[in-house]
């Protein structure tokens, strides 16, 4: 007997409530549910769907349609074509969903009714695996993190509560997000969060500072911006005026306190910073301009076991060991850096050993290593760099690697050298790599 059936939190909202806004049109909860039904009818059979919709609304509709069909959304760590092909090959019975364009035709059946659409939100079992998130593992092969519907729905209401969004039904909050919905942060904070709370998601493409400004102008107050340090930095540098914001949420990379202050001044709002990992989802929060320390969300318990910090929650299938160094101060904690070979580039996690493996697998590459100069203490850019022993050109290596990893993770520069400074045991000591990186930097300046 499967676990208890959990009704979608959407049933708490009126079918007429505004769920999303797209190209000037407001899409109600009821219309969204009708679109989900229509999309579900069109999906091919298959246990796993790789949702590569670029359009935010299409992504959201497809995500729920997949669940409605009793299938699971696969969320790849990377969207490069070969990475997707690998995923399809490794998951029997899976398929790739290119894009789903919501047309009047698709929702014709529901729209024919004159009253607000009354399609009911789908019932989803608590233990249904709604999504599987893939992250770069430390051994080079991806790690899989299964997300039950219980986990996603519980997280959604915790997050909405932090925004105060479940409180005032008469003032639905409008969310504009730069974070893509296909990674855990954007999935939780720009999509799932609207399930049981009065939030309306802006689905227009938002990327450049001008887009952010336009989308925020077009959304009625109160406004919530869900973004990342790289986008917030660009927004501040643009000097564009913003309307008043209630909250600016930031995650995926540490947010510099000076930047947080600048954002609060420019928006008249407060900055809420989020910390989490793909395995557990959002774990903790802080208001960076008020205090340095973080607090775990109520659902989590944390314990120190040796050097590790291990987190548990009712909805997590297993305890999660954090990859960062945490220093507890009573109920709160100070966050220090990462512990292993996984680094963040542009707010996204990548395993250095995984990219190194892909480099070494290329034809004509005799030896090589991918490093993070920032992690070695050299410079501020979080771009990766690579040293390769090969008779091919750096340019050829770069092109081939670009087919196998996302553009952001392709090392820049790729430096061809005679030999790597390996120690007797074959390892590449950090000091030797740092010296190599410094030498290369120095010679390129001459």
């Amino acid at each position: 007997m499967p676990g208890s059936v959990l009704l979608t939190p959407l049933t708490r909202r009126s079918p007429a409530a505004p769920f999303a806004r797209r190209a000037g049109e407001t899409i109600s909860v009821g219309r969204f549910c009708a679109d989900v039904e229509a999309c579900a009818e069109r999906l091919p059979a298959g246990r796993h769907a790789i949702n590569v919709c670029e359009d935010r609304y299409a992504f959201m509709v497809t995500f729920f349609a997949v669940i409605r069909r009793g299938a699971t959304n696969l969320l790849p760590a990377q969207r490069a074509p070969d990475a997707i092909a690998d995923l399809v090959r490794d998951h029997r019975d899976s398929y790739v969903r290119e894009s789903y364009v919501v047309t009047d035709e698709d929702a014709a059946g529901a729209r024919a009714r004159t009253s607000p659409c009354s399609a009911s939100p789908p019932e989803i079992a608590a233990d249904h695996v709604a999504a599987i998130a893939f992250t770069s593992g430390s051994t080079g092969t991806p790690e899989l993190h299964a997300k039950t519907w219980l986990a996603l729905a519980t997280a959604a209401s915790m997050h909405a509560g932090r925004l105060g969004a479940d409180v005032d039904v008469n003032a639905p909050r409008n969310v504009v997000a730069t974070a893509p919905p296909w990674h855990m942060y954007g999935l939780e904070w720009s999509m799932l969060i609207a399930l049981g709370a009065e939030l309306t998601i802006c689905c227009d493409p938002v990327f450049y500072p001008e887009d952010i400004r336009q989308a925020l102008e077009g959304a009625p107050a109160p406004r919530v911006l869900v973004s990342m340090p790289v986008h917030l930095r660009a927004l501040m540098r643009s000097g564009l005026a913003m309307p008043r914001l209630e909250t600016v949420v930031s995650a995926t990379a540490p947010l510099d306190t000076a930047l947080a202050r600048a954002v609060e001044t420019a928006s008249n709002g407060r900055v809420l910073e989020i910390y989490g990992c793909s395995e557990a989802g959002t774990l903790a929060y802080r208001y960076p301009t008020r205090a340095e320390n973080w607090r775990f969300f109520d659902a989590f318990s944390a314990a120190r076991i040796g050097d590790d910090v291990v987190v548990t929650a009712d909805f997590l299938p297993a305890a999660v060991t954090l990859a960062d160094v945490l220093e507890f101060v009573g109920e709160e904690f100070v966050l220090h850096g990462r512990r292993d070979d996984r680094v963040k580039v542009g707010g996204r996690l990548v395993s250095l050993s995984e990219v190194t493996e892909r480099l070494l697998a290329l034809d004509g590459v005799d030896d090589g290593v991918v490093v993070s100069p920032a992690a070695l203490g050299l410079g501020e850019s979080d771009r990766l760099a690579a040293f390769v022993v090969t008779t091919r050109s750096a340019e050829e290596i770069r092109r081939e690697l670009a087919r196998r990893v996302d553009a952001s993770f392709v090392p820049r520069p790729i430096v061809v050298i005679d030999a790597l400074p390996r120690a007797e045991n074959g390892k590449l000591p950090r000091e030797a790599l740092t010296a190599l990186a410094v030498d290369v930097a120095r010679s390129s300046r001459d």
Binding site: A80, D204, P205, V206, F207, Y208, P209, E210, D211, Q214, V230, H231, A234, R237, S238, L240, G346, S381, A394, R398, R399, A402, R403, D406, A407, S408, V410, R412, P413, S444
Partner: protein, 92 residues
């Protein structure tokens, strides 16, 4: 085979090389009609696009938006980007 750069295109190429610290690329040698992004040409990604957009706003006063006639087409090549920015800065 690569067409030559107009003065505006050279200026834009220099901006890109400078902002992105493309060490092994000579601005004057960029093919203005080569695709700049993903696994083509310069291999730029979306974060680069953002940095370039901010620099263009600072230098040219033109604010790029994702809805500008399909921003992928605008950003496709150095030529298309320069042409878009130049037309946006022309006095009305």
């Amino acid at each position: 085979m690569a067409s030559t750069l107009t003065p505006d295109e050279l200026k834009m190429a220099e901006l890109i090389v400078d902002i992105l610290n493309l060490e092994d690329v000579q601005a004057a040698e960029i093919d203005p009609e080569a695709v700049m992004f993903e696994d083509e040409g310069l291999g730029l990604d979306s974060i680069d696009a953002l940095e370039i957009a901010v620099a263009i706003a600072e230098q040219y006063g033109v604010h790029l938006a994702a809805e500008d006639e399909d921003s992928r087409a605008v950003f496709a090549t150095l030529r298309s980007l320069t042409s878009h920015v130049t037309s946006e800065t022309r006095p009305a």
